[in-house]
Protein backbone atom coordinates (compact mmCIF):
# COMPACT_ATOMS: atom_id res chain seq x y z
CA UNK A 1 0.00 0.00 0.00
CA UNK A 2 1.26 3.44 -0.92
CA UNK A 3 2.02 5.37 2.25
CA UNK A 4 2.41 8.94 0.98
CA UNK A 5 -0.26 10.33 -1.33
CA UNK A 6 0.30 13.52 -3.36
CA UNK A 7 -3.06 15.24 -2.93
CA UNK A 8 -3.40 17.89 -5.67
CA UNK A 9 -4.85 20.31 -3.09
CA UNK A 10 -2.91 19.52 0.09
CA UNK A 11 0.46 18.17 -1.04
CA UNK A 12 2.11 14.99 0.21
CA UNK A 13 0.02 13.39 2.96
CA UNK A 14 0.08 10.06 4.84
CA UNK A 15 -2.40 7.37 3.85
CA UNK A 16 -3.96 7.52 7.33
CA UNK A 17 -5.70 10.74 6.27
CA UNK A 18 -7.54 8.96 3.42
CA UNK A 19 -10.46 6.57 2.96
CA UNK A 20 -10.28 4.24 -0.05
CA UNK A 21 -13.50 3.45 -1.87
CA UNK A 22 -12.17 1.13 -4.55
CA UNK A 23 -11.47 0.91 -8.25
CA UNK A 24 -12.44 3.94 -10.34
CA UNK A 25 -14.29 2.27 -13.21
CA UNK A 26 -16.33 3.72 -16.06
CA UNK A 27 -20.01 3.62 -15.14
CA UNK A 28 -22.31 1.58 -17.44
CA UNK A 29 -25.19 3.40 -19.06
CA UNK A 30 -28.47 3.19 -17.07
CA UNK A 31 -29.98 0.77 -19.60
CA UNK A 32 -26.88 -1.41 -19.97
CA UNK A 33 -28.70 -4.40 -18.49
CA UNK A 34 -28.46 -6.49 -15.33
CA UNK A 35 -25.31 -8.38 -16.31
CA UNK A 36 -23.29 -5.21 -16.96
CA UNK A 37 -24.50 -3.64 -13.72
CA UNK A 38 -23.87 -6.76 -11.64
CA UNK A 39 -20.34 -6.78 -13.04
CA UNK A 40 -19.90 -3.06 -12.30
CA UNK A 41 -21.20 -3.18 -8.75
CA UNK A 42 -19.87 -6.55 -7.51
CA UNK A 43 -17.13 -7.98 -9.69
CA UNK A 44 -13.59 -6.69 -9.50
CA UNK A 45 -10.40 -7.62 -11.26
CA UNK A 46 -7.42 -7.83 -8.95
CA UNK A 47 -4.77 -6.43 -11.29
CA UNK A 48 -1.06 -6.74 -10.70
CA UNK A 49 0.15 -3.38 -11.89
CA UNK A 50 -1.58 -0.12 -12.75
CA UNK A 51 -4.87 0.63 -10.99
CA UNK A 52 -7.02 3.76 -10.68
CA UNK A 53 -8.85 4.08 -7.36
CA UNK A 54 -11.18 6.54 -5.65
CA UNK A 55 -9.55 7.93 -2.50
CA UNK A 56 -11.32 10.39 -0.20
CA UNK A 57 -9.09 12.87 1.63
CA UNK A 58 -11.19 12.48 4.76
CA UNK A 59 -8.88 14.26 7.21
CA UNK A 60 -7.68 16.89 4.74
CA UNK A 61 -9.49 18.76 1.99
CA UNK A 62 -12.36 16.20 1.97
CA UNK A 63 -12.22 16.00 -1.83
CA UNK A 64 -12.64 12.76 -3.79
CA UNK A 65 -9.45 11.96 -5.67
CA UNK A 66 -8.45 9.43 -8.30
CA UNK A 67 -5.14 7.86 -7.31
CA UNK A 68 -3.29 5.94 -10.02
CA UNK A 69 -0.98 3.48 -8.35
CA UNK A 70 0.89 0.27 -9.06
CA UNK A 71 -0.41 -2.59 -6.91
CA UNK A 72 2.93 -4.40 -7.20
CA UNK A 73 5.53 -1.66 -6.66
CA UNK A 74 3.26 0.63 -4.55
CA UNK A 75 4.37 3.58 -6.69
CA UNK A 76 1.85 6.35 -7.33
CA UNK A 77 2.01 7.70 -10.87
CA UNK A 78 -0.78 10.30 -10.68
CA UNK A 79 -3.32 11.79 -8.31
CA UNK A 80 -6.07 14.18 -9.35
CA UNK A 81 -9.40 15.54 -8.19
CA UNK A 82 -12.20 13.18 -9.25
CA UNK A 83 -14.24 16.20 -10.40
CA UNK A 84 -11.42 17.45 -12.61
CA UNK A 85 -12.97 17.41 -16.09
CA UNK A 86 -9.73 18.24 -17.93
CA UNK A 87 -8.38 14.69 -18.07
CA UNK A 88 -10.07 11.49 -19.12
CA UNK A 89 -9.58 8.34 -17.11
CA UNK A 90 -6.91 6.15 -18.58
Amino acid sequence: MASLVPCPHCGLRPKEEFTIKGAALPRPSPDAGADAWLDHVYLRDNPRGALDEFWHHTSGCRRWLIVSRDTFSHEISACRDAADPAKERS
Binding site: C10, P14, E17, S59, C61, R63, A83
Partner: protein, 177 residues
Protein backbone atom coordinates in the same frame (compact mmCIF):
# COMPACT_ATOMS: atom_id res chain seq x y z
CA UNK B 1 -39.03 21.41 36.82
CA UNK B 2 -35.96 19.89 35.21
CA UNK B 3 -33.65 18.24 37.70
CA UNK B 4 -30.60 19.13 35.72
CA UNK B 5 -29.93 22.62 34.41
CA UNK B 6 -28.12 22.76 31.10
CA UNK B 7 -25.63 25.60 31.10
CA UNK B 8 -23.66 27.03 28.21
CA UNK B 9 -19.91 27.09 28.65
CA UNK B 10 -16.83 26.87 26.42
CA UNK B 11 -15.60 23.33 25.79
CA UNK B 12 -12.25 23.95 27.55
CA UNK B 13 -13.42 26.29 30.31
CA UNK B 14 -12.08 24.08 33.10
CA UNK B 15 -8.61 23.60 31.59
CA UNK B 16 -5.57 25.33 33.03
CA UNK B 17 -3.18 26.84 30.45
CA UNK B 18 0.16 25.08 30.09
CA UNK B 19 3.18 27.33 30.53
CA UNK B 20 6.81 26.37 30.23
CA UNK B 21 10.11 27.16 28.56
CA UNK B 22 9.43 24.96 25.52
CA UNK B 23 5.65 24.96 24.96
CA UNK B 24 2.66 27.04 25.97
CA UNK B 25 -0.90 25.80 25.40
CA UNK B 26 -3.89 28.03 25.85
CA UNK B 27 -7.40 28.58 24.56
CA UNK B 28 -8.56 32.09 23.67
CA UNK B 29 -11.91 33.43 24.92
CA UNK B 30 -14.72 32.27 22.62
CA UNK B 31 -14.85 34.52 19.55
CA UNK B 32 -16.40 33.93 16.18
CA UNK B 33 -15.57 31.11 13.76
CA UNK B 34 -17.29 31.23 10.38
CA UNK B 35 -17.08 28.57 7.69
CA UNK B 36 -17.33 30.09 4.19
CA UNK B 37 -18.18 27.86 1.21
CA UNK B 38 -18.03 28.81 -2.47
CA UNK B 39 -17.86 26.91 -5.76
CA UNK B 40 -14.44 25.16 -5.87
CA UNK B 41 -13.51 26.78 -9.20
CA UNK B 42 -14.45 30.36 -8.17
CA UNK B 43 -11.05 32.06 -8.33
CA UNK B 44 -12.24 35.41 -7.01
CA UNK B 45 -14.19 34.00 -4.06
CA UNK B 46 -11.49 34.60 -1.46
CA UNK B 47 -11.16 38.29 -2.36
CA UNK B 48 -14.94 38.59 -2.34
CA UNK B 49 -15.11 37.10 1.18
CA UNK B 50 -12.27 39.30 2.41
CA UNK B 51 -14.02 42.42 1.16
CA UNK B 52 -17.21 41.51 3.07
CA UNK B 53 -15.50 40.35 6.29
CA UNK B 54 -13.58 43.35 7.61
CA UNK B 55 -9.95 42.24 7.65
CA UNK B 56 -9.22 44.09 10.91
CA UNK B 57 -11.76 41.83 12.66
CA UNK B 58 -11.61 38.52 10.79
CA UNK B 59 -8.58 36.60 9.62
CA UNK B 60 -9.17 34.09 6.86
CA UNK B 61 -7.63 30.62 6.61
CA UNK B 62 -7.91 28.32 3.59
CA UNK B 63 -9.49 24.92 4.32
CA UNK B 64 -9.90 23.23 0.93
CA UNK B 65 -10.90 24.21 -2.62
CA UNK B 66 -13.68 26.78 -2.24
CA UNK B 67 -13.71 26.69 1.58
CA UNK B 68 -12.29 28.99 4.26
CA UNK B 69 -12.49 29.56 8.00
CA UNK B 70 -12.80 33.15 9.23
CA UNK B 71 -11.78 33.67 12.84
CA UNK B 72 -12.38 36.71 15.05
CA UNK B 73 -11.41 37.25 18.68
CA UNK B 74 -14.76 38.79 19.61
CA UNK B 75 -18.16 37.09 19.38
CA UNK B 76 -20.48 38.01 16.54
CA UNK B 77 -24.13 38.90 17.16
CA UNK B 78 -26.77 37.02 15.20
CA UNK B 79 -27.81 40.26 13.49
CA UNK B 80 -24.23 40.91 12.33
CA UNK B 81 -23.98 37.30 11.14
CA UNK B 82 -27.20 37.72 9.11
CA UNK B 83 -25.82 40.93 7.57
CA UNK B 84 -22.64 39.12 6.50
CA UNK B 85 -24.70 36.29 5.00
CA UNK B 86 -26.75 38.77 3.01
CA UNK B 87 -23.61 40.48 1.72
CA UNK B 88 -22.14 37.15 0.53
CA UNK B 89 -25.10 35.09 -0.72
CA UNK B 90 -25.64 33.53 -3.16
CA UNK B 91 -22.02 33.41 -4.30
CA UNK B 92 -20.74 32.31 -0.88
CA UNK B 93 -22.56 30.54 1.97
CA UNK B 94 -21.58 31.16 5.59
CA UNK B 95 -22.03 28.69 8.44
CA UNK B 96 -21.57 29.89 12.01
CA UNK B 97 -19.13 27.45 13.65
CA UNK B 98 -18.41 29.60 16.72
CA UNK B 99 -19.83 26.91 19.01
CA UNK B 100 -19.06 24.00 16.71
CA UNK B 101 -15.28 24.32 16.76
CA UNK B 102 -12.78 25.24 19.44
CA UNK B 103 -9.55 27.19 19.11
CA UNK B 104 -6.37 26.05 20.83
CA UNK B 105 -3.15 28.08 20.66
CA UNK B 106 0.19 26.24 20.93
CA UNK B 107 3.42 28.22 20.92
CA UNK B 108 7.02 28.17 22.08
CA UNK B 109 10.47 27.36 20.70
CA UNK B 110 9.75 23.58 20.67
CA UNK B 111 6.27 23.75 19.20
CA UNK B 112 7.20 22.27 15.80
CA UNK B 113 8.87 19.29 17.46
CA UNK B 114 5.77 18.74 19.59
CA UNK B 115 3.32 18.96 16.67
CA UNK B 116 5.51 16.65 14.59
CA UNK B 117 4.49 13.86 16.98
CA UNK B 118 0.91 14.22 15.77
CA UNK B 119 0.92 15.40 12.16
CA UNK B 120 2.83 14.40 9.05
CA UNK B 121 2.90 17.96 7.63
CA UNK B 122 6.34 19.49 7.20
CA UNK B 123 6.20 22.38 9.66
CA UNK B 124 9.59 23.90 8.82
CA UNK B 125 9.05 27.62 8.44
CA UNK B 126 10.38 27.52 4.87
CA UNK B 127 7.67 24.98 3.94
CA UNK B 128 4.82 26.07 6.22
CA UNK B 129 5.17 29.84 6.35
CA UNK B 130 3.41 32.28 8.67
CA UNK B 131 -0.20 32.38 7.48
CA UNK B 132 -0.11 28.86 6.01
CA UNK B 133 -3.02 26.64 7.00
CA UNK B 134 -3.89 22.98 6.52
CA UNK B 135 -6.57 20.48 7.40
CA UNK B 136 -4.80 17.41 8.70
CA UNK B 137 -4.72 14.64 11.29
CA UNK B 138 -3.25 15.39 14.70
CA UNK B 139 -2.99 11.98 16.27
CA UNK B 140 -6.29 10.32 15.33
CA UNK B 141 -8.32 13.54 15.26
CA UNK B 142 -9.03 15.73 12.24
CA UNK B 143 -8.02 19.32 12.91
CA UNK B 144 -7.22 22.55 11.12
CA UNK B 145 -3.76 23.96 11.71
CA UNK B 146 -2.66 27.56 11.00
CA UNK B 147 0.78 29.05 11.58
CA UNK B 148 0.07 32.44 13.17
CA UNK B 149 3.68 33.26 14.09
CA UNK B 150 7.22 31.91 13.84
CA UNK B 151 6.66 29.52 16.75
CA UNK B 152 2.91 29.92 17.17
CA UNK B 153 0.09 27.76 15.78
CA UNK B 154 -3.67 27.81 16.07
CA UNK B 155 -5.55 24.51 16.10
CA UNK B 156 -9.24 24.45 15.20
CA UNK B 157 -10.92 21.25 16.30
CA UNK B 158 -14.53 20.07 16.45
CA UNK B 159 -15.93 20.93 19.87
CA UNK B 160 -16.61 17.32 20.82
CA UNK B 161 -12.93 16.51 20.23
CA UNK B 162 -11.57 19.62 21.98
CA UNK B 163 -10.97 18.03 25.37
CA UNK B 164 -9.34 14.98 23.81
CA UNK B 165 -7.10 17.21 21.67
CA UNK B 166 -6.19 19.35 24.67
CA UNK B 167 -5.25 16.35 26.77
CA UNK B 168 -3.18 14.89 23.91
CA UNK B 169 -1.33 18.20 23.47
CA UNK B 170 -0.59 18.43 27.18
CA UNK B 171 0.88 14.91 27.07
CA UNK B 172 2.84 15.73 23.90
CA UNK B 173 4.26 18.88 25.50
CA UNK B 174 5.56 17.29 28.71
CA UNK B 175 9.05 16.43 27.52
CA UNK B 176 9.65 20.04 26.46
CA UNK B 177 8.64 21.80 29.69
Amino acid sequence: MPEFQISRRPALSDKQPVTGPGIEISTPPPGAILHALAQPGDAGARGFIESALMSDIFSIRPVSPGQWFSVADDPLSHADFRNLCEALEPRVDLVDQSHGRTRIIVQGPQVEAMLAKGTAIDLHIDQFTVGSAASTLIGHVSAHLTRTGEHCFEILVLRSFAENMWDDLVRMSREFN
